[in-house]
């Protein structure tokens, strides 16, 4: 940052700060400030209340059963993340290394990639029927479905990245007596780290914030995720905006903290995925 910043640079900085203050911090501030008010403090909506009602958070916490929903969402997110990273990268590895050797594997590549064109909504109706036959309409089942449904995109990203890892490594490992699985697990998997980061970010953002799949699959209240519970509680919040916003803020807080903690890593991950 030793380059001189011109006057136009100062102008752009100012503009970007004003825009961010209005449309990013403004929205977050609004959510927070409504969350800590009582209904009679709502006359000046944007003003910070003289007596903040932090107990709104406790009320929303109990009313929506926050801890249970939080654990549900966390279990889904973490389970699908771990299994996505291992199984999807293994599938992509097999495809990347054998596309030229086997017609079937080359066809598998196109099979997975072409599924990118099939939006979830298209197969949603039959999937729900099938999920209830296979008892997948619960936390474990939906985690499993996230792993399967992420495969097309992740195959695309992993195979792209695997092109940059020389096959000579595989051959060397083979000569040393390793079978392809050992080669993958001990040599290739660790080398995929930058792509794991990208896929981890995309996977976590997807599963944590997803609304449609829980909505159609998780019909029992004990399986609800955080997003879904906000939808379900809409009628109970009715006109109590403060309680509703306290609940929204609690749900938004988790990804916000996650982002603040691993901000560099998240931005690098998404950028990395786009360039590949």
């Amino acid at each position: 940052m030793n380059k001189k910043i011109s006057r136009s640079g100062t102008g752009i900085t100012t503009f970007l700060f004003i825009y961010a203050a209005l449309f990013v911090f403004g929205i977050l501030y609004l959510t927070f400030v409504i969350a800590i008010k009582s209904p009679d403090q709502m006359v000046h909506i944007m003003a910070f209340p003289r007596i903040p009602h932090f107990e709104n958070f406790a009320k929303a916490w109990i009313m929506t059963g926050f801890p249970k929903k939080f654990i549900n969402t966390a279990v889904i997110t973490i389970l699908s993340l771990i299994f996505t990273l291992f199984t999807n990268s293994a599938a992509a590895y097999v495809i990347a290394r054998n596309r030229k050797k086997s017609r079937i594997i080359n066809l598998l590549y196109y099979y997975f990639i072409s599924a990118l064109f099939i939006p979830f909504q298209v197969l949603m109706l039959p999937l729900v029927k099938q999920a209830s036959v296979f008892h997948l309409d619960n936390i474990l089942g939906i985690s499993f479905l996230y792993v399967v449904f992420g495969l097309p995109m992740n195959t695309f990203l992993y195979t792209g990245y695997l092109k940059t890892i020389p096959e000579a490594l595989d051959e060397a490992a083979l000569i040393d007596g390793a079978n392809p699985f050992q080669t993958f697990l001990f040599i290739i998997f660790p080398m995929l780290k930058p792509m794991h980061a990208t896929i981890a970010v995309l996977s976590v953002m997807w599963t944590w914030n997803d609304f449609l799949m829980p909505l159609v699959l998780l019909t029992k209240s004990e399986h609800q995720t955080l997003q879904l519970s906000q939808y379900v509680f809409q009628t109970q919040f009715s006109a109590d905006y403060n309680l509703a916003f306290a609940s929204y803020f609690l749900v938004l807080l988790v990804p916000l903290l996650f982002f603040i903690l691993c901000q560099k890593w998240i931005i690098a991950g998404v950028t990395n995925g786009a360039v590949k």
Partner: protein
């Protein structure tokens, strides 16, 4: 091509990939094929059914609520795609110029992406219903005094929320495109007298053309599927004026006993998304070739 597949594949590779292939077929391809199959039947989602051929498809074409949802979805997807890409490109250029607090600002502009769409929509619903009318009364602007989500302009509210959130991701992608441009090219262009818009059209844009293609494909796809923000803001109303195809599929498919009928609708949606994506990819490919 015949002689390219010569070497043998190590059996361990097959063991590694087979489970994934089976599961993918079972839980992704099978429901997809089932959907296509049921679209030719009269199944309600329960009870007995028979094959009815193309009847559902003929009905779908004549159904006014499906027609209106397609029209609305296209209008919405097209407008949102244009707005998101123009704004994202402007923001990316601004964030890529020589500014103070560069990394901080880049992080801030990414925040909307990480927030759940449904909850953001609830927050915006409150802004539209309680805050904007207040501002409208204070400034005495008639257009702002009413809750936009209750009027025939409800879709503009949905558009605002969608653009607000989608800009975050698209800006980041454009930004990574802009960063891949070698600054020497700009210096050479400056010597040749290329400045401002001319420089953008002749150097910057061709360099980020692949990123433009990615963004367009992702945007159109996501916006044609728009669901969360509609459910959060209007639930498809007033009337059915903001009902997208996804919302219609959900409401009628699960609650309306139109399983087979909405399956035909889903198949049409799939065909449309596929054609649009392929055309975009093809055009993008040509565009990139032209600049190579």
């Amino acid at each position: 091509m015949k002689n390219t597949y010569t070497s043998k594949v190590h059996p361990v590779y097959w063991i590694m990939i087979l489970p994934m292939v089976v599961l993918f077929f079972l839980f992704h391809t099978t429901p997809f094929l089932q959907g296509i199959f049921y679209s030719f039947t009269d199944w309600k989602g329960y009870g007995i059914w028979k094959v009815v051929g193309l009847r559902n498809y003929l009905q779908v074409f004549k159904d006014p609520s499906i027609q209106s949802s397609y029209l609305f979805t296209f209008k919405f997807a097209l407008t949102a795609t244009i707005l998101v890409n123009v704004l994202s490109l402007l923001l990316a250029c601004a964030l890529n110029s020589k500014i103070y607090f560069k990394n901080f600002l880049r992080a801030v502009y990414f925040i909307p992406y990480i927030l759940g769409t449904l909850i953001i929509s609830y927050v915006f619903r409150f802004i539209f219903s309680n805050i904007i009318p207040d501002i409208g009364r204070a400034l005495d602007i008639q257009a702002l005094k009413v809750n936009i989500l209750g009027t025939e302009h409800a879709w503009l509210g949905i558009l605002i929320v969608t653009v607000w959130q989608s800009c975050a991701f698209n800006t980041l992608i454009y930004l990574s495109g802009l960063q891949s441009i070698n600054p020497d090219i700009y210096e050479a262009a400056a010597i040749d007298g290329a400045e401002g818009l001319y420089r953008f059209a002749k150097i910057t844009f061709p360099a980020i053309a692949p990123f433009f293609t990615i963004n367009l494909v992702l945007c159109v796809r996501n916006f044609l599927m728009a669901f969360d923000q509609i459910m959060g803001l209007t639930s498809g109303g007033p009337g059915i004026s903001t009902t997208t195809i996804s919302v219609l599929l959900y409401k009628r498919g699960f609650q309306g006993g139109q399983f087979a009928y909405q399956s035909a609708n889903a198949v049409m949606l799939f065909v449309i998304v596929m054609i649009i994506s392929l055309v975009q990819l093809k055009l993008g490919e040509n565009k990139e070739k032209k600049y190579e």
